[in-house]
Subunit: 158 residues, 8 copies
Amino acid sequence: MKVKIIMGSKSDLEVGKKAVEVLEDLGISYQMTVSSAHRTPERTEKLCEGADVFITIAGLSAALPGVIASHTLKPVIGVPVSGKLNFDSLLSIAQMPPGIPVATVGMDRGDNAALLAAEILAVSDEGIRKKLEGYRKHRREKVYRDAEEVETKYTAGD
Amino acid sequence: MKVKIIMGSKSDLEVGKKAVEVLEDLGISYQMTVSSAHRTPERTEKLCEGADVFITIAGLSAALPGVIASHTLKPVIGVPVSGKLNFDSLLSIAQMPPGIPVATVGMDRGDNAALLAAEILAVSDEGIRKKLEGYRKHRREKVYRDAEEVETKYTAGD
Amino acid sequence: MKVKIIMGSKSDLEVGKKAVEVLEDLGISYQMTVSSAHRTPERTEKLCEGADVFITIAGLSAALPGVIASHTLKPVIGVPVSGKLNFDSLLSIAQMPPGIPVATVGMDRGDNAALLAAEILAVSDEGIRKKLEGYRKHRREKVYRDAEEVETKYTAGD
Amino acid sequence: MKVKIIMGSKSDLEVGKKAVEVLEDLGISYQMTVSSAHRTPERTEKLCEGADVFITIAGLSAALPGVIASHTLKPVIGVPVSGKLNFDSLLSIAQMPPGIPVATVGMDRGDNAALLAAEILAVSDEGIRKKLEGYRKHRREKVYRDAEEVETKYTAGD
Amino acid sequence: MKVKIIMGSKSDLEVGKKAVEVLEDLGISYQMTVSSAHRTPERTEKLCEGADVFITIAGLSAALPGVIASHTLKPVIGVPVSGKLNFDSLLSIAQMPPGIPVATVGMDRGDNAALLAAEILAVSDEGIRKKLEGYRKHRREKVYRDAEEVETKYTAGD
Amino acid sequence: MKVKIIMGSKSDLEVGKKAVEVLEDLGISYQMTVSSAHRTPERTEKLCEGADVFITIAGLSAALPGVIASHTLKPVIGVPVSGKLNFDSLLSIAQMPPGIPVATVGMDRGDNAALLAAEILAVSDEGIRKKLEGYRKHRREKVYRDAEEVETKYTAGD
Amino acid sequence: MKVKIIMGSKSDLEVGKKAVEVLEDLGISYQMTVSSAHRTPERTEKLCEGADVFITIAGLSAALPGVIASHTLKPVIGVPVSGKLNFDSLLSIAQMPPGIPVATVGMDRGDNAALLAAEILAVSDEGIRKKLEGYRKHRREKVYRDAEEVETKYTAGD
Amino acid sequence: MKVKIIMGSKSDLEVGKKAVEVLEDLGISYQMTVSSAHRTPERTEKLCEGADVFITIAGLSAALPGVIASHTLKPVIGVPVSGKLNFDSLLSIAQMPPGIPVATVGMDRGDNAALLAAEILAVSDEGIRKKLEGYRKHRREKVYRDAEEVETKYTAGD
């Protein structure tokens, strides 16, 4: 399997689904599962194998990304999940100590985590890179269409 | 041993020494050591035994307290170490998910961690409680002395 | 009584009930009450006796945990209640001065406060420790069930 | 005595001295002392009498202003003292619950606390008001002098 | 008139009404009005007379309290109004420069602003002080009633 | 055209419309469009011409204002759009490096961006300045009307 | 005079000098002075004339930019000065209410304030625009030189 | 070349050197250079080719990582550089919009950026993976040595 997605709790499912959707679009094999760094540490450890890239999704004190990163040399991407304080998960994931990097993406950005995973795989996989080009082109065209629609409606004077 | 003190890095030594000093004063047996949640996960796991209370000290994304707490049912105290952002370690330690509590004390407060450990042991150990009373009395008297000194110098009118 | 739960205001009841629920599950005797550090200081002082562990719950400037801690040598757990600023209660409870520790748990985490109280009692009470093991096992199994459910639904490719 | 200044710790002395200096300038009787809300609660309570206005100075979780305010109906002014987090003392003092107001001034602003105390006394004391007018005039003239000095040096073109 | 309440915008009315309600309860004469530090500076200046205490209520960059304070020697109380950032109004009001104090109360705390105004007036008005005692007693009794209700329902074991 | 309004995404339309409304009121020619600094960098670059002032509107990491500012010497106004963290867009727009200024206005303040654009144009256009005077007078009168309404309803005693 | 620079206090001089230096480089006439929104409100008001653009520099609760903006229809640029909290001045200047815009630049960025002022003047002054082009070109070349120096030293492998 | 390191300013050199040091240790070819997203946008664009992974280093509003990411499909790693506000660069880099991911590492963590780059290359390069294993083992052993040293010195009782 190319990508393993691990959520710290089933309550992070909406963020996880954003990652799944992008991987489906790009035709990249994946498995999504649940494991808590704190409630099931033994299970979390065992999940650190069998994939080229790991996407980890967690809120609050969000130890999951770091714990996965401490058990593998594969790239680990961390997605902070928003909550009452918001900053807690972002800082917990981004501020890793020297020696154990985690690739942090934006708050709730499961989609960007999947795109980053695809970019990492594309370093040595031309097929994925082609699909990424298509994906980006598609999003670019959406902006052009939006621009046309807005300009038509909101222009005055010369 | 009553208390095990685990620092995430030797660079947290100043905070650890504050805990050691209080435990020495109260005559409570302890061992202080170093283990990184991220760099030596296998070692960290093995440390989760052989003490009644754990004091964990960590900065940055500070996963150590939570990792210890996930492997033991003994009370785990977490001391956030200050750094460039300050908030990162405090939030990483305090915002634990449901099911795995960590007893967070103030930023760099190794001393309060040791006092809290003593209070926990004193629930079933009258000797420690007596010593805690002495310790608190001592600090109280210091305030009275300071007050007298300040009042003498800074009073005007009637 | 083993645990006394003190809320700063009746409006903190939802957080208090999370603590009650866990203590009921673990069969630990408790009493929950209301007392304001600021509106009923004389009452607050009198509550500082008759329990092995205190759970204090407060929002805003949240002086209650510290005031209780200043009148007892029993372990005091503080639960910050979320509000408009969120940070205010967390910082007011966590940042205690040297000499008077409060064991701070996460925002609105009445459940973790009760588990921490149980862990403290379990240092000298084998019965509670056994129940804590059961409780933790139960939560662990929930993660495994969630994992199975998610994996079945969200796996693609090989 | 008109004003009682209470610092939570002797380490807040630099902030306290700013208040003393202003009260001396305005000829208002005062006494400055030390009492910790947490280390000497019994002493703190007893200090809540014998003055028309209270100035309280504290850092960290800063319960002192609120504790004083809970025991008196005289106006209580709170001065947050800066530290590693800064926000902690400001929020702890400002975010009082309904019913018990504290008049918060800026971080480390012992001087403004004394001026506010003077303004409060001046509501019914014409003599203090006159002195306040002089004090403000004096500071205003300082700005004019600074302005002249800067304009002379930093002007170019027409 | 004893108290003048100035809101920076009619949209702050809910906070203003909390102040009005308390002043009505205490029988203190007042007038509430609207004036923007930025949109009607000339009007704001003229309002700085004819009262013993000023309550100012403002959100966002909240210059109103400081502008009033710069034109009077009467005590000025500032109430920060919550919004998207929350911190903006609190900091804008609390962090006044040396020489011009504003008595900041908690976020949206119109009620505490009125109580603080009453405490200030009570320094030289025994009648108001008596009423404040009644008010505080009333609130204290409410806590006792809440406590009884909660204790009855949430007690288990012995 | 006098003013070009560029939104980073069509989802910023509500903020953009506030700018459009003000420019319509003041009779200033404009065009509003959409271009993403990140998704359509080539398009963004091409938009940096053909106007006297640029209004840029963006949320999250909000690179758009800076990118526009790096390609033109015309004044660039940046409007941060609120989101889950709020601070992200404000800091991304305000904290520009030396050499490339962006004129940041308040969170979601499309209206103030348009007024600032008008003030900039009015430096050399007497007609716009006259209209700005009318606009400001209109808003001032609204405050006076609100004041009258509030005073009538909320005054007690003398 | 083209640009008037107003500092809230002489202690902001280092930031003011950065603006002066840029205006000197660009040959734009200016005058720098000091006036406090709070200590010399009457003086501040009088300064709101006689220039095409205003640069205002202030720390803490930083009301100066908004007060100037409330008395003129000329563009007002605000420079937040850093201090103990940092956020206070940035938020106080940026979060202006609807109707009264202030063009906020980055923390301590007197230089960018001057460049923004020059861009505003350059809308109708070709001479200033030419100089701005030179200035920007100069800074661009500095980056190229730095790049060359770094590349030479820090390249390895092929 | 495997890795291109781009700093937004030569003043970020200390952070850049941490990345260089790690890449040297791992024998990975690299080139480090300087280019500003805002001062040399045309140069920045041209740098988006000729490497498998990009490491971008920037402070303040930190647009550089996002601009590079918008011009390439290779993985882009962003290193926030600390400054007066600290949060500004972290949020500017982490909070990328959907479609354009940046792999954010901790504040000033040039070393972790290089390790993440190595992990990405190691997905398809067994040689680098072997070296990463050695590197991690080396750091792990350091913790064990520190632990031994600390334990020897700080143990008391049994």
